[in-house]
Protein backbone atom coordinates (compact mmCIF):
# COMPACT_ATOMS: atom_id res chain seq x y z
CA UNK A 1 0.00 0.00 0.00
CA UNK A 2 1.28 3.48 -0.70
CA UNK A 3 -0.05 6.98 -0.04
CA UNK A 4 -0.03 10.13 -2.10
CA UNK A 5 -0.51 13.47 -0.47
CA UNK A 6 -1.08 16.97 -1.79
CA UNK A 7 1.80 19.48 -2.09
CA UNK A 8 3.28 21.07 1.04
CA UNK A 9 2.05 24.44 -0.13
CA UNK A 10 -1.56 23.28 -0.28
CA UNK A 11 -1.18 21.45 3.03
CA UNK A 12 -0.03 24.68 4.57
CA UNK A 13 -3.14 26.44 3.28
CA UNK A 14 -5.32 23.66 4.73
CA UNK A 15 -3.53 24.10 8.02
CA UNK A 16 -4.17 27.84 8.00
CA UNK A 17 -7.91 27.22 7.83
CA UNK A 18 -7.97 24.17 10.06
CA UNK A 19 -5.63 25.50 12.71
CA UNK A 20 -6.12 29.21 12.39
CA UNK A 21 -3.72 31.05 14.69
CA UNK A 22 -4.12 34.24 16.66
CA UNK A 23 -0.97 34.31 18.77
CA UNK A 24 -0.95 30.95 20.51
CA UNK A 25 -4.69 30.46 20.18
CA UNK A 26 -5.88 28.03 17.56
CA UNK A 27 -9.29 27.25 16.15
CA UNK A 28 -10.72 26.12 12.85
CA UNK A 29 -12.37 28.70 10.61
CA UNK A 30 -16.14 28.33 10.83
CA UNK A 31 -18.46 27.76 7.90
CA UNK A 32 -20.22 30.80 6.52
CA UNK A 33 -22.49 30.84 3.51
CA UNK A 34 -23.63 34.19 2.22
CA UNK A 35 -26.79 32.72 0.69
CA UNK A 36 -28.44 33.20 4.09
CA UNK A 37 -27.52 36.88 4.19
CA UNK A 38 -27.46 37.95 0.54
CA UNK A 39 -24.73 40.53 1.01
CA UNK A 40 -23.62 42.04 -2.28
CA UNK A 41 -20.49 43.74 -3.49
CA UNK A 42 -18.93 43.71 -0.06
CA UNK A 43 -15.50 42.67 1.09
CA UNK A 44 -14.88 39.06 0.20
CA UNK A 45 -14.21 38.25 3.84
CA UNK A 46 -17.73 39.45 4.67
CA UNK A 47 -19.32 36.99 2.28
CA UNK A 48 -17.49 33.81 3.26
CA UNK A 49 -14.78 34.12 0.62
CA UNK A 50 -11.83 35.38 2.62
CA UNK A 51 -8.30 34.03 2.61
CA UNK A 52 -6.70 33.34 6.02
CA UNK A 53 -4.96 36.72 5.75
CA UNK A 54 -8.25 38.50 5.00
CA UNK A 55 -9.82 36.74 7.97
CA UNK A 56 -6.97 37.73 10.27
CA UNK A 57 -7.26 41.39 9.21
CA UNK A 58 -11.02 41.32 9.67
CA UNK A 59 -10.65 39.89 13.18
CA UNK A 60 -8.21 42.67 14.03
CA UNK A 61 -10.66 45.30 12.78
CA UNK A 62 -13.66 43.81 14.53
CA UNK A 63 -11.71 43.35 17.76
CA UNK A 64 -10.62 46.98 17.64
CA UNK A 65 -14.14 48.14 16.91
CA UNK A 66 -15.63 46.11 19.73
CA UNK A 67 -12.85 46.76 22.22
CA UNK A 68 -11.89 43.09 22.43
CA UNK A 69 -8.33 42.28 23.45
CA UNK A 70 -7.08 39.70 20.97
CA UNK A 71 -4.64 38.38 23.54
CA UNK A 72 -7.58 37.31 25.70
CA UNK A 73 -8.86 34.81 23.13
CA UNK A 74 -8.86 31.11 23.88
CA UNK A 75 -9.90 28.60 21.23
CA UNK A 76 -13.52 28.64 22.27
CA UNK A 77 -13.90 32.40 22.53
CA UNK A 78 -12.08 32.91 19.23
CA UNK A 79 -14.48 30.56 17.48
CA UNK A 80 -17.42 32.30 19.09
CA UNK A 81 -16.04 35.66 18.02
CA UNK A 82 -15.69 34.47 14.43
CA UNK A 83 -19.18 32.99 14.29
CA UNK A 84 -20.83 35.94 16.03
CA UNK A 85 -19.20 38.32 13.55
CA UNK A 86 -20.16 36.24 10.51
CA UNK A 87 -16.55 35.48 9.66
CA UNK A 88 -16.05 32.15 7.97
CA UNK A 89 -15.52 30.35 4.72
CA UNK A 90 -17.86 28.58 2.34
CA UNK A 91 -17.12 25.31 0.58
CA UNK A 92 -16.29 26.66 -2.88
CA UNK A 93 -14.02 29.45 -1.64
CA UNK A 94 -12.15 26.99 0.58
CA UNK A 95 -11.57 24.67 -2.38
CA UNK A 96 -10.67 27.65 -4.57
CA UNK A 97 -7.83 28.66 -2.25
CA UNK A 98 -6.57 25.07 -2.04
CA UNK A 99 -6.62 24.58 -5.80
CA UNK A 100 -4.98 27.94 -6.26
CA UNK A 101 -2.11 26.85 -4.01
CA UNK A 102 -1.89 23.56 -5.86
CA UNK A 103 -1.72 25.38 -9.18
CA UNK A 104 0.97 27.70 -7.84
CA UNK A 105 2.95 24.79 -6.41
CA UNK A 106 3.00 23.27 -9.89
CA UNK A 107 4.18 26.60 -11.26
CA UNK A 108 1.07 26.98 -13.38
CA UNK A 109 0.08 30.39 -12.12
CA UNK A 110 -3.04 31.35 -10.19
CA UNK A 111 -6.23 29.36 -10.56
CA UNK A 112 -8.04 32.32 -12.13
CA UNK A 113 -5.81 31.99 -15.19
CA UNK A 114 -7.27 28.57 -15.94
CA UNK A 115 -10.89 28.82 -14.90
CA UNK A 116 -13.80 29.58 -17.21
CA UNK A 117 -16.79 31.42 -15.80
CA UNK A 118 -19.78 30.26 -17.85
CA UNK A 119 -22.33 31.71 -15.44
CA UNK A 120 -20.96 35.24 -15.55
CA UNK A 121 -23.04 36.84 -18.25
CA UNK A 122 -22.25 39.89 -20.34
CA UNK A 123 -19.17 42.07 -20.36
CA UNK A 124 -19.70 43.27 -16.79
CA UNK A 125 -20.05 39.70 -15.59
CA UNK A 126 -16.87 38.67 -17.38
CA UNK A 127 -14.95 41.60 -15.93
CA UNK A 128 -16.30 40.89 -12.46
CA UNK A 129 -15.28 37.27 -12.61
CA UNK A 130 -11.79 38.21 -13.75
CA UNK A 131 -11.36 40.82 -11.03
CA UNK A 132 -13.06 38.85 -8.25
CA UNK A 133 -12.55 35.21 -9.21
CA UNK A 134 -13.03 33.74 -5.73
CA UNK A 135 -16.42 35.37 -5.30
CA UNK A 136 -17.53 34.26 -8.75
CA UNK A 137 -16.42 30.65 -8.53
CA UNK A 138 -19.19 28.48 -7.21
CA UNK A 139 -19.57 24.72 -7.26
CA UNK A 140 -21.23 24.79 -10.67
CA UNK A 141 -18.27 26.72 -12.06
CA UNK A 142 -15.91 24.04 -10.80
CA UNK A 143 -18.24 21.41 -12.24
CA UNK A 144 -18.36 23.11 -15.64
CA UNK A 145 -16.98 20.80 -18.31
CA UNK A 146 -14.33 23.24 -19.49
CA UNK A 147 -12.99 23.50 -15.95
CA UNK A 148 -13.09 19.89 -14.83
CA UNK A 149 -13.72 16.44 -16.22
CA UNK A 150 -15.61 13.57 -14.65
CA UNK A 151 -13.28 10.66 -14.03
CA UNK A 152 -13.72 7.11 -12.77
CA UNK A 153 -12.61 6.38 -9.22
CA UNK A 154 -9.68 4.31 -10.41
CA UNK A 155 -8.12 7.45 -11.93
CA UNK A 156 -8.46 9.56 -8.80
CA UNK A 157 -5.48 11.79 -7.95
CA UNK A 158 -4.75 14.14 -5.08
CA UNK A 159 -6.05 17.60 -6.00
CA UNK A 160 -9.24 16.17 -7.53
CA UNK A 161 -12.61 17.38 -6.38
CA UNK A 162 -15.97 15.84 -5.60
CA UNK A 163 -18.85 18.04 -6.71
CA UNK A 164 -22.44 17.73 -5.56
CA UNK A 165 -24.69 19.71 -7.87
CA UNK A 166 -28.31 20.17 -8.90
CA UNK A 167 -29.08 20.82 -5.29
CA UNK A 168 -31.56 23.56 -6.05
CA UNK A 169 -34.06 21.11 -7.49
CA UNK A 170 -34.34 19.13 -4.30
CA UNK A 171 -33.75 21.91 -1.79
CA UNK A 172 -30.14 20.97 -1.10
CA UNK A 173 -27.18 23.21 -1.60
CA UNK A 174 -24.40 22.50 -4.06
CA UNK A 175 -21.29 21.32 -2.30
CA UNK A 176 -17.67 20.53 -3.04
CA UNK A 177 -14.96 18.41 -1.41
CA UNK A 178 -11.22 18.48 -2.00
CA UNK A 179 -9.20 15.28 -2.11
CA UNK A 180 -5.89 15.83 -0.39
CA UNK A 181 -4.67 12.31 0.22
CA UNK A 182 -5.18 8.95 -1.46
CA UNK A 183 -4.17 5.49 -0.32
CA UNK A 184 -3.41 3.06 -3.11
CA UNK A 185 -3.08 -0.68 -3.33
CA UNK A 186 -1.67 -2.17 -6.51
CA UNK A 187 -1.80 1.33 -7.99
CA UNK A 188 -5.55 1.51 -7.46
CA UNK A 189 -7.13 3.87 -4.92
CA UNK A 190 -8.61 2.24 -1.87
CA UNK A 191 -9.19 5.30 0.36
CA UNK A 192 -9.87 8.91 -0.65
CA UNK A 193 -9.23 11.47 2.09
CA UNK A 194 -11.15 14.66 1.59
CA UNK A 195 -11.52 18.00 3.33
CA UNK A 196 -14.25 20.61 3.05
CA UNK A 197 -15.95 23.55 4.71
CA UNK A 198 -19.36 22.60 5.98
CA UNK A 199 -21.92 22.89 8.75
CA UNK A 200 -23.66 19.75 9.86
CA UNK A 201 -26.91 20.07 11.78
CA UNK A 202 -25.19 18.31 14.67
CA UNK A 203 -22.35 20.86 14.73
CA UNK A 204 -24.46 23.29 16.71
CA UNK A 205 -23.98 27.04 16.59
CA UNK A 206 -20.22 27.07 16.96
CA UNK A 207 -18.94 23.60 16.00
CA UNK A 208 -18.97 23.93 12.22
CA UNK A 209 -16.11 24.70 9.89
CA UNK A 210 -13.43 22.59 8.29
CA UNK A 211 -14.28 18.87 8.28
CA UNK A 212 -12.14 15.96 7.16
CA UNK A 213 -13.44 12.62 6.04
CA UNK A 214 -12.62 9.54 4.06
CA UNK A 215 -14.24 7.41 1.42
CA UNK A 216 -13.34 3.74 1.57
CA UNK A 217 -13.54 2.37 -1.92
CA UNK A 218 -15.52 -0.84 -1.71
CA UNK A 219 -15.69 -1.36 -5.44
CA UNK A 220 -14.07 0.60 -8.23
CA UNK A 221 -16.97 -0.24 -10.48
CA UNK A 222 -19.64 1.34 -8.29
CA UNK A 223 -20.39 5.07 -8.14
CA UNK A 224 -19.09 7.26 -5.30
CA UNK A 225 -22.32 7.23 -3.33
CA UNK A 226 -22.15 3.47 -3.09
CA UNK A 227 -18.79 3.56 -1.35
CA UNK A 228 -18.28 3.83 2.42
CA UNK A 229 -18.14 7.46 3.61
CA UNK A 230 -16.75 8.17 7.08
CA UNK A 231 -16.63 11.60 8.67
CA UNK A 232 -16.53 12.50 12.36
CA UNK A 233 -16.76 8.74 12.95
CA UNK A 234 -20.20 8.75 11.36
CA UNK A 235 -21.27 6.61 8.45
CA UNK A 236 -24.47 6.05 6.54
CA UNK A 237 -27.41 8.30 7.31
CA UNK A 238 -25.61 9.87 10.28
CA UNK A 239 -22.97 11.21 7.93
CA UNK A 240 -24.55 14.38 6.55
CA UNK A 241 -21.93 14.78 3.85
CA UNK A 242 -22.84 11.34 2.56
CA UNK A 243 -26.55 12.15 2.82
CA UNK A 244 -25.95 15.31 0.81
CA UNK A 245 -23.93 13.35 -1.74
CA UNK A 246 -26.78 10.90 -2.21
CA UNK A 247 -29.35 13.62 -2.73
CA UNK A 248 -27.28 15.42 -5.36
CA UNK A 249 -25.46 14.53 -8.53
CA UNK A 250 -22.14 13.58 -6.99
CA UNK A 251 -19.17 13.26 -9.26
CA UNK A 252 -15.46 12.81 -8.97
CA UNK A 253 -13.75 15.38 -11.13
CA UNK A 254 -10.23 16.32 -12.08
CA UNK A 255 -8.97 19.69 -13.21
CA UNK A 256 -7.03 18.96 -16.41
CA UNK A 257 -4.74 21.95 -16.10
CA UNK A 258 -3.42 20.63 -12.79
CA UNK A 259 -2.42 17.27 -14.21
Amino acid sequence: MNTKIISDRTLEMIDQYKNFHIGNTVCSIPYFNNKHYGRRAGLRVEIGKGSPKDIFEEIKNKALEQGVDMKSFDSESLKRFLVDNDIGIDCSAFVYYLLNEESLSKKKGGLDRHLHFPFSKGIIGKIKSKIRPVENTDVKTFAYDKNSKVIPIKNAQVGDIITMTNGLNNGNRDHILFIYQIEYQNFLPIVLHYIHATAWPTDGEYGHGIHEGRIDILSLERPLVEQRWIENDKTGEENYTFVNAKKNQTKLRTLPFLC
Binding site: A41, G42, L43, R44, V45, K49, D54, E57, K60, N61, L64, E65, Q66, G67, I131, R132, V134, E135
Partner: protein
Protein backbone atom coordinates in the same frame (compact mmCIF):
# COMPACT_ATOMS: atom_id res chain seq x y z
CA UNK B 1 0.33 83.19 -14.31
CA UNK B 2 -2.31 85.86 -13.73
CA UNK B 3 -0.98 89.12 -12.31
CA UNK B 4 -3.31 92.06 -12.17
CA UNK B 5 -1.52 94.34 -9.71
CA UNK B 6 -4.88 95.71 -8.66
CA UNK B 7 -5.38 96.25 -4.96
CA UNK B 8 -1.80 95.30 -4.25
CA UNK B 9 -0.91 95.76 -0.63
CA UNK B 10 2.27 96.01 1.30
CA UNK B 11 3.25 92.59 2.63
CA UNK B 12 3.75 93.90 6.13
CA UNK B 13 0.21 95.28 5.97
CA UNK B 14 -1.02 91.84 4.91
CA UNK B 15 0.83 90.16 7.76
CA UNK B 16 -0.78 92.66 10.08
CA UNK B 17 -4.12 91.04 9.25
CA UNK B 18 -2.77 87.64 10.25
CA UNK B 19 -1.72 89.03 13.64
CA UNK B 20 -4.96 90.91 14.07
CA UNK B 21 -7.06 87.89 13.14
CA UNK B 22 -5.09 85.67 15.51
CA UNK B 23 -5.60 88.20 18.29
CA UNK B 24 -9.35 88.47 17.63
CA UNK B 25 -9.75 84.69 17.48
CA UNK B 26 -7.88 84.23 20.76
CA UNK B 27 -9.96 86.96 22.30
CA UNK B 28 -13.31 85.32 21.77
CA UNK B 29 -12.18 81.68 21.89
CA UNK B 30 -13.03 81.27 25.63
CA UNK B 31 -16.59 82.30 24.85
CA UNK B 32 -16.85 79.77 22.04
CA UNK B 33 -15.29 76.97 24.08
CA UNK B 34 -17.62 77.68 26.99
CA UNK B 35 -20.65 77.72 24.67
CA UNK B 36 -19.72 74.50 22.92
CA UNK B 37 -19.29 72.70 26.26
CA UNK B 38 -22.46 74.23 27.63
CA UNK B 39 -24.50 73.14 24.62
CA UNK B 40 -22.75 69.75 24.77
CA UNK B 41 -22.17 69.57 21.01
CA UNK B 42 -20.33 66.26 21.13
CA UNK B 43 -20.22 63.77 18.27
CA UNK B 44 -17.84 61.23 19.78
CA UNK B 45 -15.04 59.35 18.10
CA UNK B 46 -15.38 57.21 15.00
CA UNK B 47 -16.99 53.96 16.16
CA UNK B 48 -14.34 51.72 14.57
CA UNK B 49 -11.58 53.57 16.43
CA UNK B 50 -13.29 54.41 19.68
CA UNK B 51 -11.45 51.65 21.55
CA UNK B 52 -7.95 52.82 20.69
CA UNK B 53 -6.47 54.03 23.98
CA UNK B 54 -5.51 57.46 22.66
CA UNK B 55 -9.07 58.04 21.46
CA UNK B 56 -10.96 57.05 24.56
CA UNK B 57 -11.40 60.62 25.84
CA UNK B 58 -12.39 62.08 22.47
CA UNK B 59 -15.98 61.26 23.24
CA UNK B 60 -16.04 64.27 25.53
CA UNK B 61 -14.65 66.87 23.10
CA UNK B 62 -17.18 69.16 21.42
CA UNK B 63 -17.23 69.79 17.68
CA UNK B 64 -17.89 73.02 15.74
CA UNK B 65 -14.63 74.60 16.90
CA UNK B 66 -14.22 75.62 13.27
CA UNK B 67 -16.64 78.44 14.01
CA UNK B 68 -13.67 80.21 15.59
CA UNK B 69 -12.07 80.52 12.15
CA UNK B 70 -15.19 80.99 10.05
CA UNK B 71 -16.67 83.76 12.18
CA UNK B 72 -13.34 85.53 12.73
CA UNK B 73 -12.49 85.49 9.03
CA UNK B 74 -15.98 86.56 7.94
CA UNK B 75 -16.09 89.33 10.55
CA UNK B 76 -12.66 90.80 9.75
CA UNK B 77 -13.18 90.54 6.02
CA UNK B 78 -16.61 92.15 6.20
CA UNK B 79 -15.40 95.11 8.23
CA UNK B 80 -11.83 95.59 7.01
CA UNK B 81 -11.37 93.88 3.64
CA UNK B 82 -14.68 94.02 1.84
CA UNK B 83 -14.30 94.13 -1.91
CA UNK B 84 -17.10 93.42 -4.36
CA UNK B 85 -14.54 92.29 -6.89
CA UNK B 86 -12.51 89.90 -4.83
CA UNK B 87 -13.75 88.98 -1.38
CA UNK B 88 -17.47 88.70 -1.28
CA UNK B 89 -17.72 85.54 -3.38
CA UNK B 90 -14.97 83.64 -1.47
CA UNK B 91 -16.59 84.64 1.80
CA UNK B 92 -20.05 83.80 0.47
CA UNK B 93 -18.95 80.36 -0.71
CA UNK B 94 -17.14 79.76 2.58
CA UNK B 95 -20.21 80.72 4.58
CA UNK B 96 -22.52 78.60 2.43
CA UNK B 97 -20.27 75.56 2.86
CA UNK B 98 -19.85 76.30 6.55
CA UNK B 99 -23.61 76.56 6.94
CA UNK B 100 -23.98 73.15 5.35
CA UNK B 101 -21.30 71.77 7.66
CA UNK B 102 -22.88 73.44 10.67
CA UNK B 103 -26.28 71.92 9.93
CA UNK B 104 -24.58 68.55 9.54
CA UNK B 105 -22.79 68.94 12.87
CA UNK B 106 -25.96 69.91 14.67
CA UNK B 107 -28.05 67.18 13.08
CA UNK B 108 -25.35 64.64 13.90
CA UNK B 109 -25.50 65.62 17.56
CA UNK B 110 -29.13 66.52 18.14
CA UNK B 111 -30.98 65.04 15.17
CA UNK B 112 -32.75 61.72 15.09
CA UNK B 113 -31.96 58.73 12.93
CA UNK B 114 -32.83 59.34 9.30
CA UNK B 115 -33.83 56.65 6.89
CA UNK B 116 -33.49 56.31 3.18
CA UNK B 117 -36.25 54.58 1.23
CA UNK B 118 -35.22 51.84 -1.14
CA UNK B 119 -35.92 52.44 -4.82
CA UNK B 120 -38.36 49.56 -4.88
CA UNK B 121 -40.29 51.21 -2.04
CA UNK B 122 -40.42 54.51 -3.94
CA UNK B 123 -41.65 52.72 -7.07
CA UNK B 124 -44.27 50.95 -4.99
CA UNK B 125 -45.44 54.25 -3.54
CA UNK B 126 -45.76 55.67 -7.05
CA UNK B 127 -48.01 52.75 -7.87
CA UNK B 128 -50.10 52.43 -4.76
CA UNK B 129 -50.14 55.72 -2.84
CA UNK B 130 -53.75 56.70 -2.24
CA UNK B 131 -53.13 60.40 -2.85
CA UNK B 132 -52.57 61.37 -6.47
CA UNK B 133 -50.50 64.44 -5.60
CA UNK B 134 -48.10 62.28 -3.58
CA UNK B 135 -47.75 59.89 -6.50
CA UNK B 136 -46.91 62.82 -8.77
CA UNK B 137 -44.45 64.08 -6.16
CA UNK B 138 -42.69 60.71 -6.04
CA UNK B 139 -42.51 60.64 -9.85
CA UNK B 140 -41.06 64.17 -10.00
CA UNK B 141 -38.52 63.37 -7.30
CA UNK B 142 -37.62 59.96 -8.73
CA UNK B 143 -34.26 61.14 -10.16
CA UNK B 144 -33.41 62.46 -6.68
CA UNK B 145 -34.40 59.13 -5.13
CA UNK B 146 -32.16 57.32 -7.61
CA UNK B 147 -29.27 59.69 -6.80
CA UNK B 148 -29.90 59.17 -3.08
CA UNK B 149 -29.87 55.37 -3.35
CA UNK B 150 -26.71 55.41 -5.45
CA UNK B 151 -24.99 57.45 -2.75
CA UNK B 152 -26.12 54.88 -0.18
CA UNK B 153 -24.75 52.05 -2.31
CA UNK B 154 -21.36 53.71 -2.50
CA UNK B 155 -21.12 54.11 1.23
CA UNK B 156 -23.22 57.04 2.43
CA UNK B 157 -24.38 56.17 5.91
CA UNK B 158 -28.08 56.53 6.35
CA UNK B 159 -28.02 57.57 9.97
CA UNK B 160 -27.86 60.98 11.58
CA UNK B 161 -26.74 64.20 9.94
CA UNK B 162 -26.83 65.46 6.39
CA UNK B 163 -26.53 62.61 3.92
CA UNK B 164 -23.83 62.52 1.28
CA UNK B 165 -26.18 63.21 -1.62
CA UNK B 166 -27.57 66.29 0.13
CA UNK B 167 -24.06 67.53 0.86
CA UNK B 168 -23.03 67.02 -2.74
CA UNK B 169 -25.98 69.02 -4.01
CA UNK B 170 -25.23 72.00 -1.77
CA UNK B 171 -21.54 71.80 -2.56
CA UNK B 172 -22.46 71.79 -6.23
CA UNK B 173 -24.30 75.06 -5.67
CA UNK B 174 -21.25 76.51 -3.90
CA UNK B 175 -19.03 75.31 -6.75
CA UNK B 176 -21.40 76.79 -9.33
CA UNK B 177 -21.34 80.20 -7.65
CA UNK B 178 -17.55 80.09 -7.71
CA UNK B 179 -17.50 79.01 -11.35
CA UNK B 180 -19.91 81.76 -12.35
CA UNK B 181 -17.85 84.37 -10.51
CA UNK B 182 -14.54 83.26 -11.93
CA UNK B 183 -15.78 82.70 -15.48
CA UNK B 184 -18.11 85.69 -15.79
CA UNK B 185 -16.81 88.31 -13.42
CA UNK B 186 -13.06 87.86 -13.26
CA UNK B 187 -12.73 87.84 -17.02
CA UNK B 188 -11.14 86.01 -19.95
CA UNK B 189 -7.76 85.62 -18.22
CA UNK B 190 -9.44 82.96 -16.07
CA UNK B 191 -10.50 80.91 -19.08
CA UNK B 192 -6.99 79.49 -19.20
CA UNK B 193 -5.23 76.87 -17.16
CA UNK B 194 -1.80 78.17 -16.27
CA UNK B 195 0.79 75.47 -15.93
CA UNK B 196 4.41 75.94 -14.86
CA UNK B 197 7.02 77.04 -17.34
CA UNK B 198 4.66 79.38 -19.17
CA UNK B 199 2.33 76.75 -20.56
CA UNK B 200 -1.11 78.33 -20.91
CA UNK B 201 -4.02 76.19 -22.07
CA UNK B 202 -7.19 77.90 -23.22
CA UNK B 203 -10.20 75.85 -22.23
CA UNK B 204 -12.95 78.48 -22.34
CA UNK B 205 -16.24 77.51 -20.71
CA UNK B 206 -14.88 74.06 -19.91
CA UNK B 207 -13.26 75.71 -16.92
CA UNK B 208 -16.73 75.82 -15.31
CA UNK B 209 -17.13 72.08 -14.58
CA UNK B 210 -13.47 71.94 -13.56
CA UNK B 211 -13.98 74.71 -11.02
CA UNK B 212 -17.15 73.08 -9.66
CA UNK B 213 -15.32 69.77 -9.31
CA UNK B 214 -12.31 71.35 -7.60
CA UNK B 215 -14.44 73.26 -5.09
CA UNK B 216 -16.51 70.19 -4.23
CA UNK B 217 -13.54 67.86 -4.06
CA UNK B 218 -11.40 70.22 -1.99
CA UNK B 219 -14.16 70.94 0.53
CA UNK B 220 -14.65 67.23 1.04
CA UNK B 221 -10.92 66.56 1.09
CA UNK B 222 -10.40 68.95 4.01
CA UNK B 223 -13.42 67.45 5.71
CA UNK B 224 -11.92 63.97 5.33
CA UNK B 225 -8.53 65.06 6.65
CA UNK B 226 -10.09 66.51 9.78
CA UNK B 227 -9.86 63.31 11.79
CA UNK B 228 -7.11 63.90 14.32
CA UNK B 229 -6.32 66.62 16.81
CA UNK B 230 -4.54 69.44 14.99
CA UNK B 231 -4.11 67.58 11.73
CA UNK B 232 -6.30 69.64 9.41
CA UNK B 233 -5.56 72.89 11.28
CA UNK B 234 -1.79 72.50 10.99
CA UNK B 235 -1.91 71.55 7.35
CA UNK B 236 -4.27 74.41 6.52
CA UNK B 237 -1.82 76.87 8.08
CA UNK B 238 0.80 75.77 5.55
CA UNK B 239 -1.62 75.88 2.64
CA UNK B 240 -3.11 79.29 3.45
CA UNK B 241 0.34 80.74 4.21
CA UNK B 242 1.46 79.67 0.76
CA UNK B 243 -1.67 81.15 -0.74
CA UNK B 244 -1.04 84.42 1.07
CA UNK B 245 2.39 84.61 -0.46
CA UNK B 246 1.25 83.62 -3.94
CA UNK B 247 -1.72 85.96 -4.00
CA UNK B 248 0.54 88.82 -2.92
CA UNK B 249 3.12 87.94 -5.57
CA UNK B 250 0.36 87.69 -8.19
CA UNK B 251 -0.95 91.07 -7.13
CA UNK B 252 -4.22 90.08 -5.49
CA UNK B 253 -4.04 92.26 -2.39
CA UNK B 254 -7.55 91.61 -1.10
CA UNK B 255 -7.22 87.87 -1.47
CA UNK B 256 -3.78 87.97 0.15
CA UNK B 257 -5.35 89.77 3.11
CA UNK B 258 -8.18 87.22 3.22
CA UNK B 259 -5.67 84.36 3.24
CA UNK B 260 -3.56 86.04 5.90
CA UNK B 261 -6.66 86.57 8.01
CA UNK B 262 -7.43 82.87 7.68
CA UNK B 263 -3.88 81.94 8.72
CA UNK B 264 -4.17 84.05 11.85
CA UNK B 265 -7.48 82.50 12.84
CA UNK B 266 -6.13 79.04 12.06
CA UNK B 267 -3.21 79.55 14.42
CA UNK B 268 -5.57 80.41 17.26
CA UNK B 269 -7.79 77.45 16.37
CA UNK B 270 -4.91 74.99 16.15
CA UNK B 271 -3.59 76.20 19.51
CA UNK B 272 -6.78 74.88 21.10
CA UNK B 273 -7.11 71.89 18.79
CA UNK B 274 -3.70 70.36 19.54
CA UNK B 275 -3.96 67.20 21.60
CA UNK B 276 -5.67 67.08 24.05
CA UNK B 277 -8.09 69.17 22.00
CA UNK B 278 -10.46 71.60 23.64
CA UNK B 279 -12.69 71.32 20.59
CA UNK B 280 -12.75 69.77 17.16
CA UNK B 281 -13.16 71.61 13.89
CA UNK B 282 -16.35 69.88 12.78
CA UNK B 283 -17.83 70.04 9.31
CA UNK B 284 -18.64 73.70 9.86
CA UNK B 285 -14.93 74.49 9.72
CA UNK B 286 -13.60 71.85 7.39
CA UNK B 287 -16.17 72.28 4.61
CA UNK B 288 -16.01 76.07 4.85
CA UNK B 289 -12.22 76.25 4.85
CA UNK B 290 -11.90 73.61 2.12
CA UNK B 291 -14.18 75.64 -0.14
CA UNK B 292 -12.37 78.87 0.73
CA UNK B 293 -9.00 77.31 -0.07
CA UNK B 294 -10.25 76.14 -3.47
CA UNK B 295 -11.89 79.45 -4.36
CA UNK B 296 -8.85 81.51 -3.37
CA UNK B 297 -6.45 79.26 -5.26
CA UNK B 298 -8.59 79.37 -8.39
CA UNK B 299 -9.12 83.13 -8.08
CA UNK B 300 -5.39 83.82 -8.19
CA UNK B 301 -4.98 81.51 -11.20
CA UNK B 302 -3.00 78.77 -9.49
CA UNK B 303 -5.05 75.83 -10.70
CA UNK B 304 -1.83 74.23 -11.99
CA UNK B 305 -0.31 73.88 -8.55
CA UNK B 306 -3.43 73.44 -6.43
CA UNK B 307 -2.76 69.72 -5.99
CA UNK B 308 0.55 70.44 -4.24
CA UNK B 309 -0.74 73.43 -2.30
CA UNK B 310 -3.35 71.14 -0.74
CA UNK B 311 -1.32 67.99 -1.15
CA UNK B 312 -2.20 65.82 1.82
CA UNK B 313 -5.84 66.84 1.76
CA UNK B 314 -6.10 65.45 -1.74
CA UNK B 315 -4.09 62.37 -0.83
CA UNK B 316 -6.43 61.72 2.09
CA UNK B 317 -9.48 62.04 -0.16
CA UNK B 318 -7.93 59.85 -2.83
CA UNK B 319 -7.21 57.11 -0.27
CA UNK B 320 -10.90 57.09 0.61
CA UNK B 321 -11.79 56.67 -3.06
CA UNK B 322 -9.19 53.92 -3.42
CA UNK B 323 -10.60 52.16 -0.36
CA UNK B 324 -14.14 52.31 -1.75
CA UNK B 325 -12.91 51.08 -5.14
CA UNK B 326 -10.98 48.27 -3.45
CA UNK B 327 -14.04 47.22 -1.51
CA UNK B 328 -16.46 47.21 -4.41
CA UNK B 329 -14.20 46.24 -7.28
CA UNK B 330 -11.60 43.96 -5.71
CA UNK B 331 -13.54 42.86 -2.64
CA UNK B 332 -10.76 43.70 -0.24
CA UNK B 333 -9.35 46.58 1.74
CA UNK B 334 -6.38 48.36 0.22
CA UNK B 335 -5.65 50.23 3.48
CA UNK B 336 -6.36 49.02 6.97
CA UNK B 337 -8.67 51.98 7.22
CA UNK B 338 -9.29 55.10 5.19
CA UNK B 339 -8.50 57.98 5.17
CA UNK B 340 -4.85 57.14 5.36
CA UNK B 341 -4.13 58.78 8.74
CA UNK B 342 -6.30 56.05 10.32
CA UNK B 343 -4.28 53.43 8.47
CA UNK B 344 -1.16 54.58 10.28
CA UNK B 345 -3.06 54.85 13.54
CA UNK B 346 -4.09 51.20 13.27
CA UNK B 347 -0.53 50.28 12.34
CA UNK B 348 0.39 51.56 15.78
CA UNK B 349 1.65 55.07 15.11
CA UNK B 350 0.75 57.41 17.92
CA UNK B 351 -1.61 60.25 17.05
CA UNK B 352 1.15 62.81 17.68
CA UNK B 353 3.59 61.01 15.41
CA UNK B 354 1.04 60.71 12.61
CA UNK B 355 0.00 64.34 12.83
CA UNK B 356 3.50 65.81 12.96
CA UNK B 357 4.75 63.65 10.12
CA UNK B 358 1.73 64.63 8.07
CA UNK B 359 2.38 68.29 8.83
CA UNK B 360 5.96 67.95 7.65
CA UNK B 361 5.13 66.01 4.51
CA UNK B 362 2.38 68.46 3.67
CA UNK B 363 4.64 71.42 4.33
CA UNK B 364 7.35 70.27 1.96
CA UNK B 365 4.82 69.61 -0.78
CA UNK B 366 3.30 73.03 -0.25
CA UNK B 367 6.77 74.52 -0.71
CA UNK B 368 7.03 72.49 -3.90
CA UNK B 369 3.64 73.87 -4.95
CA UNK B 370 4.86 77.43 -4.39
CA UNK B 371 8.05 76.68 -6.29
CA UNK B 372 5.99 75.28 -9.14
CA UNK B 373 3.64 78.26 -9.11
CA UNK B 374 6.58 80.64 -9.38
CA UNK B 375 7.79 79.00 -12.57
Amino acid sequence: MISILQGTADFAYILGFALFSCFVAFLWSPLLIKTLYKLNIIKGSKRELSNIDSRKNKGETPVMGGLLIIITVAFITFFFNWSRSFTWVPIGVMLLSALLGGVDDLLSVFGGERRSRKLSQVLNLIRVHRELKMRIWYIITLPWSVFRRISVWVGSRTNKGVHVHEKLLLQFIAGSITAWWIYEKLGPAWHYIYLPYGIDIFIGWFIIPIIIFIVMFTANAVNIADGMDGLAGGMLISSFSALTLLSWINGFGEIAILNATTVGALVAYTYFNIKPARFMMGDVGSLGLGALFAVNTLAIGEIGSIFFLGFLFYVEAITVLIQIAGRYILGRRIFKMAPIHHHFEILGWSEEKTIMRFWMIHFIFVIFGVWLALH
